[in-house]
Every structure is written in C-alpha cells, then in structure tokens.
Amino acid sequence: MTQFIDHESVDHLDHMIKTGTTVAQALTFFDQLAPVDLHRVIGQWRCIPLSTGHPIDELAEPFGWYGKLFFDPEHVYPLLFRYQEQLISIDPRWIPLSWIGRRKLPAKQVLAAMAKRAQFMVASAESHARLRMLHHRGKLSTSIVYDHRPIIVTLRQVTETTLMGLMEVKDVDIPFFCMMYRD
C-alpha cells in the first residue's frame, strides 16, 4: 500500500485520534497532506471525528453517524447513519446549523432520542452534496460542496484508503475534522 505520509506522521496521527488535539495542530497536519483526485474518492467511507475539544465532535456517536457515500460527483450522501442494521442517508437540512459553533449542547441522551425520531422523518434517497476540485489552503483537491447548506468539506489523502476531511461552515470560525476509512 502506498504510504502518503511517513511513519512518524502516522504515529502522530494515531496519537491525535486517540487523545484528541487542537484545531491548530490538526490544521498543521492537514496542510502537509497530499491532495486527492475526485475520481479516487468514489465509494463508501466510514467517518470518525478527529476531536479538537468541541462538543460537536461528540455528536457523531450518539447520533449513530456512520460516514459518507460518494456515488458519483453529482450524487453525494454526506450523512449516512446506522439505523436498525441498515445505513440510511439523512438530509443535512434537518441538522440545525445553529448547533454548530455552540459551546453547549443538549444532553447526549436527549440528542440520541431526537436522532432516533429524526431518522424516521428525514431518511431520503436524494443526494445532498456534490464533489468538485476546489483550491483551498494552497492545494487543488476534492471537496464536498453541500447542496442546501453553506458547508464545504476539503479532502486530503492520508493513505490509499484513508482520507482526512476539513469541514468549514460559513461564518463559523472553528473548523471540524474527520478521518475517513474506505469500506
């Protein structure tokens, strides 16, 4: 397998994933990664937030967020959730943007209960984003552009089967990070 980063960086990444990190450190790591071409990301990916100490990083687990599916550049499912042994796609418009950037969120149990209900209502076959090659932070790389949200996720290559995503929401000054593993 082609290794796009050296062993030291792999160790550093493992450590960040285990213990969490800061936004600055995550950005430094992200910036050294190679760009990834649009046609190399097609497929299904399991996603795990890289925690930078923000409450939103803790949401993925109780909500049952699984990952992302890139069917083709025009049809992207950015929010695949586990539901009753199945993966379903959620419309991102149902996740309140006002939560992003907030320092305090409702209790995890409340969120989990809400998520269960939400999944009934919002599962849809429609795709909710597209893939494009955008120039960002000095490199031209695959980006996920949401259809109905001012959200752009920039992807970079860690290994052949691992990507790192940098999620930026318009007018929210903290970025979010996730690690993506090919299924």
Partner: protein, 181 residues
C-alpha cells in the same frame, strides 16, 4: 484582431442575437480564468440566450446583478425595487424548480413575478466564491449557500465576465454575462 477583442465582439453578438449551448461553451473554453480578487466589487448582468428555459427570466424579474463583498460574502441576486438596489434571498426565486420542468414561458414569468411583490430585502449574504477546476481551468466559482447552484466565471476582459450556471439536475447549463459597475 486580437483574441481579446475577438472574444468581446463574439460575446456581444451572442448577447444581442443569441446562440446555442455548444457555441457558448466554445467561447467560454477559450477565455482566461478569473481570480477571487478580480471578482470583488459590484457587477450588473444579463442573460446570454441559448434556447434555455431560463432565457429572459432574470431580466423579466428585474435582476440587476451581483455584489462580491469578500470571498465568503456574496450577494448573488441584486434587484432594483422602488429605485433601490436590494439583495434578495434566492430561496424566494423558483430557480430550483426550473431544472426538470419545461414551464411555458408565460406561466413561468407569472409565477416569477409573484415572489417579487413580496420580495424580502436581505442583509445577509447568500453565496461564497472559491477557485474551482471546471472544463480544464481553475477559475472563480460562486457557490450558493442554500441552493445546489454553482456559477463558474471566465474573463472576457477586466470588466466583463462570462458565467455559466450549473444547477444540480439541470441538463442544459444557463449562460450569463457580468459587467463591472
């Protein structure tokens, strides 16, 4: 005749007498990319007719142009209302409904004039600009915040841009021109 003057002349002919998608793309493809810095400022615009369902739509509706305040804050729909320029929230325009339907022109315009009467002035920006690879060149693209629309720009000259609107699900792209104010 220089390439630049040639492109400008071609564009002018297309705007006044219309063309087809293929010919419009032939012009678009030979134009230079435009940078984010070059996009900043206020522009007035107009459609480039290519036999598209949206031909004449923005003009009929009183669209003025776009303002690019900074890369994260773009007002894609400036309209003149009561003699004033106002920024309209794109969600009030049924652009997204155009994609898969062939509405009769009259019916479409009647539908369009309805939201104008109730148009909401919005202080908030409704789009962002980024540099994107499209048809072999990296150039400025305007990405709407709440609609699956990207407008990709190329430079005719310093004060004239050719834009192509890529709406998710719409087979035929829509061309338009921006002129710097």
């Amino acid at each position: 005749m220089s390439n630049l003057a040639n492109s400008a002349q071609q564009l002018h002919a297309f705007v006044s007498s219309g063309t087809d998608t293929e010919t419009a793309f032939a012009l678009f493809d030979q134009l230079e990319p435009v940078s984010l810095d070059e996009m900043l400022g206020q522009w007035h615009g107009g459609g480039l007719p290519t036999g598209h369902v949206m031909d004449g739509m923005l003009e009929a509706f009183g669209w003025y142009g776009k303002t690019f305040t900074d890369p994260n804050h773009v007002h894609p729909l400036l309209f003149i209302l009561n003699g004033k320029l106002v920024s309209i929230d794109p969600k009030w325009l049924p652009i997204a409904q155009v994609s898969n339907r062939r509405l009769p022109a009259q019916g479409l315009l009647a539908k369009l004039s309805l939201p104008a009467k109730f148009a909401l002035k919005t202080g908030q920006s409704r789009a962002q600009i980024r540099m994107m690879d499209y048809r072999g060149k990296v150039s400025a693209v305007m990405i709407y915040d709440h609609l699956p629309i990207m407008d990709i720009f190329r430079k005719v000259d310093d004060n004239t841009l050719l834009g192509v609107m890529d709406l998710k699900g719409m087979q035929q792209p829509f061309f338009f021109v921006l002129y710097r104010d």
